[in-house]
Symmetry: C2
Subunit: 204 residues, 2 copies
DNA sequence: AAGTGTGAAGCAGTTCACAGCA
DNA sequence: TGCTGTGAACTGCTTCACACTT
């Protein structure tokens, strides 16, 4: 099944497997079976094995998967084998909370700069990252950042995103409740806290 | 097609339609076509019509959908026609950012209390919500809250969630990077910022 | 003329069952 | 014996085409 077209759903599960592998490694395990890995992710063993089978033969029958090696494989597939740089735009409450978040490192991600329009905030440091003037957004290309986290007010989101694309940003994590219009080569992931909470009552 | 079993994917799109309807209403439109609504959500018109067809006949041929009426229908389906109460646990950076978020109201959601373990924070008010001692979590049942937002450190997440379920919480918005183990009647939505950002490099 | 509602076709992802390997 | 890898069956969602309504 190697080298076939990879189902989108499989790709979406890979980060979950990676997170589970971090957890398994912390427990001190060096081998893990598809069944155990599946349990941490909330799927079945056959789903795990099928997903991996699209990329090659990762495991050893009768034994399972070597945790460290599998981790590297998935990191490589997800392009997390080399460090990726991200910038944050909008250093309000939510932006500052994201800057203080320490969980990016294990994915080889680094926030290298933050931007805001508020003169009060410019020059200040939040969690070791200096807030720069949003008018200086062109410096993003020199920093080599390809990812952006957008935590600005909704009214300016589309405008900011247009500028980000101009300076070479290819992936956007959008915390505003606006649908962003971007060219095909740019990927957007939306996190809409209000909508996510509003999705729950249906199921209860 | 009315009264058939509703596809899960359809349910997941309903909050997106609702958000789009809020936007359309703000523009002052009172009617909207499936094609226009689809554009705001990023799907095709036939998808919108098919989704709505599971619930009944919502539109008028040649005209479109009445914005206000359709909004009410979707709110009813999603159980957002009456106010739902939520509590927040963990008033750190991220928790405070969520408390200051003003986008819950239009979904008929209200954060009625916040909890933290830090004695320094207890008694303080953040965005009009008083921080209470996490030891007093049982007061949640008196408040009538059924939803919870969990922004505590990962190490205590599972423990906190166990307590929340004991006091009647049925839906959880989980911001920690831990998989929560909950009974079948409890629904969890996970937001893992690190993992979400880590998903982007594959596509670029 | 414009736009909805839906049966049927097509496609993608999930699940199964089991052969094969350590 | 235990666990992986995978063709084949199955399931469910998406897409289409068009009859029907205003």
């Amino acid at each position: 099944m190697r080298y076939a077209r990879i189902p989108d759903q499989t790709i979406r599960r890979l980060p979950l497997y990676l997170r589970a592998l971090f957890f398994v490694a912390e427990q001190g395990q060096s081998e893990v079976s598809s069944k155990d890995l599946a349990q941490y992710v909330g799927v079945h063993g056959w789903q795990v094995r099928k997903d991996f089978s699209f990329f090659g033969e990762f495991g050893r029958p009768g034994v399972g998967y070597r945790v460290s090696w599998l981790t590297e494989q998935i990191k490589t597939i997800l392009r997390l084998d080399s460090e990726k740089k991200a910038v944050l735009v909008g250093a309000g409450n939510l932006g500052a909370a994201v800057l203080s978040f320490s969980g990016f490192q294990k994915y080889n991600l680094a926030i290298v700069a933050a931007f805001d329009a508020d003169a009060e905030k410019i020059g200040q440091r939040v969690s070791g990252v200096e807030i720069m003037d949003i008018a200086c957004l062109e410096s993003v290309s020199e920093l080599g950042a390809t990812l952006a986290i957008v935590t600005v007010p909704g009214e300016v989101a589309q405008d900011v995103v247009g500028q980000l694309i101009n300076v070479g940003i290819k992936g956007i994590l959008n915390f505003t409740s606006c649908r962003l219009i971007v060219p095909d080569q740019v990927r957007v992931t939306n996190i809409d806290i209000g909508m996510d909470l509003a999705s729950l009552p249906y199921y209860i």
